[in-house]
């Protein structure tokens, strides 16, 4: 009881939940600002790491599938804002969020950095495949589609998926480790207070 009173007497910006949401939002912002940049060493065949995907994986790995889906939806909308809404990124990131959250329940993988990198590798391939499926669908359904024929879409998909998966999984620990540490500390803080 006393601890609850002490927490609520703090000013708003010092309260743990406010600090936690600020850190979370700031990390999303950093990912968004990293997207259009091509920093030397972060580029393979003109492809940069998929920072939002790494964030969604880091978020969903210890949460349930609904939280994963919401994170995928929000970050997908943000990436749509930065490129173009067709084909949409929300679908691929929601799939990634839900799959990552479900994966954790089966306990096939521990939560160390190597398995996180592996999950990111698989999820990057899945995300690019969902996008390629959307583009192929558009190509098949609409008569005046602007996209190239199916063969070249999937050839391009191979190249993109592989380089994006390699780069994202290599850079995944850089984002996953600090974020995970922070969320762990926050949850232990809020349980002790």
């Amino acid at each position: 009881m006393t601890s609850v009173a002490r927490v609520s007497s703090r000013p708003l910006w010092r309260q743990p939940w406010a600090v936690n949401s600020m850190v979370t939002i700031a990390s999303v912002l950093v990912c968004l600002l990293l997207l259009p940049s091509r920093i030397p060493g972060m580029e393979l065949l003109g492809v940069a790491p998929h920072w939002l995907l790494i964030w969604v994986v880091a978020w969903s790995i210890k949460r349930n599938q609904w939280q994963g889906a919401v994170a995928g939806l929000v970050l997908g909308l943000l990436q749509d804002a930065m490129t173009s809404p067709h084909p949409t990124h929300t679908l691929s990131l929601i799939v990634v969020g839900v799959l990552t959250a479900r994966l954790q329940k089966q306990r096939y993988l521990q939560e160390d950095i190597v398995s996180v990198a592996l999950i990111v590798f698989a999820m990057a391939v899945i995300a690019e495949t969902v996008l390629a499926l959307q583009i192929s669908f558009n190509q098949l359904v609409s008569a005046d589609s602007l996209y190239p024929p199916l063969g070249s879409i999937w050839l391009y998909h191979q190249r993109i998926a592989l380089s994006s998966a390699i780069l994202s999984s290599l850079w995944a620990p850089a984002l996953y480790y600090p974020l995970n540490r922070w969320w762990d500390r926050y949850s232990s803080d809020s349980s002790t207070l």
Binding site: L33, A48, L73, L77, L78, L146
Partner: protein, 258 residues
């Protein structure tokens, strides 16, 4: 909390991510290239000048036979630095550090050292996003400068573009210069695009040729934004069987002139 996150993401999407790009521009300001980097593109400038000469010679020849010749409509534009690339791998876009505050609007044409790069598809107060001609959804009406054979330049998403000819047997050789054609609705005519690298006349449904772009798209650091008003209707007759060009069907270009 969830609705707040979703609605703010939706708002950002509705504004085309203008806020994010503003922040990005502000953050990368110390990293943006200085004027001295221009020297790297000297070779491309020379290439552009060579191609312009070829184009001018051909124009001169055709001027003698043509009575109602219209001058190329490229006006002087704003210089802008390339500060970012597409935020996803499926799109070929660049981000420039000039926006609506400098008079850039959607539809303006962007050229670089060497020739045509693309057109502006979104602006924020101090940044603008450019769809490159190497994007798979980009279409540019173009012609072979030497023989006036017409075609559509299509992106291939890997910094390579191909030209699809309208005729079955176009008069084209490797090394020919490709420029934008007067049938193009979204680009002014006679901007150099590149040179023919290889030709595949057996390609169905239309003969195709691979173009070596004269502007170095992957290492681009500077670009010029030229004011241009895309045309909805063209007075000149459109070739029979001409595909909708420039990545947009006329109704969808979004700019209706009074």
């Amino acid at each position: 909390m969830v609705t707040l996150a979703v609605s703010s993401a939706w708002l950002l999407r509705a504004s085309d991510g203008a806020l994010i790009y503003e922040a990005y521009n502000w953050l990368t300001r110390p990293l943006q290239p200085g004027l001295s980097r221009e020297q790297q593109f000297e070779n491309s400038y020379i290439l552009e000048l060579q191609q312009r000469i070829v184009e001018l010679e051909n124009q001169n020849r055709s001027l003698q036979t043509m009575a109602d010749y219209e001058a190329a409509a490229v006006r002087e534009g704003v210089r802008a630095a390339v500060i970012g690339r597409a935020a996803d791998h499926w799109w070929q876009q660049i981000v420039l550090n000039r926006g609506s505050r400098q008079g850039v609007t959607v539809g303006h044409v962007v050229t670089g050292p060497g020739g045509l790069i693309g057109r502006v598809i979104a602006v924020s107060p101090s940044t603008s996003r450019v769809l490159l001609i190497s994007d798979p959804t980009s279409r540019v009406g173009a012609k072979v400068s030497r023989s006036r054979a017409m075609g559509v330049v299509r992106g291939q998403s890997n910094n390579r573009v191909v030209i699809e000819f309208f005729e079955k047997l176009p008069d084209v050789k490797t090394g020919d210069v490709i420029v934008t054609s007067s049938y193009s609705r979204l680009f002014p005519q006679d901007i150099p695009i590149g040179r023919i690298e290889s030709i595949d006349l057996t390609k169905s449904p239309a003969p195709e040729a691979v173009i070596q772009l004269s502007s170095p798209l992957p290492i681009l650091e500077w670009a010029m934004v030229h004011p241009f008003e895309p045309q909805e209707t063209v007075d000149a007759p459109v070739l029979p069987g001409a595909a909708p060009e420039n990545g947009a069907i006329p109704e969808n270009t979004g700019r209706v002139r009074p």
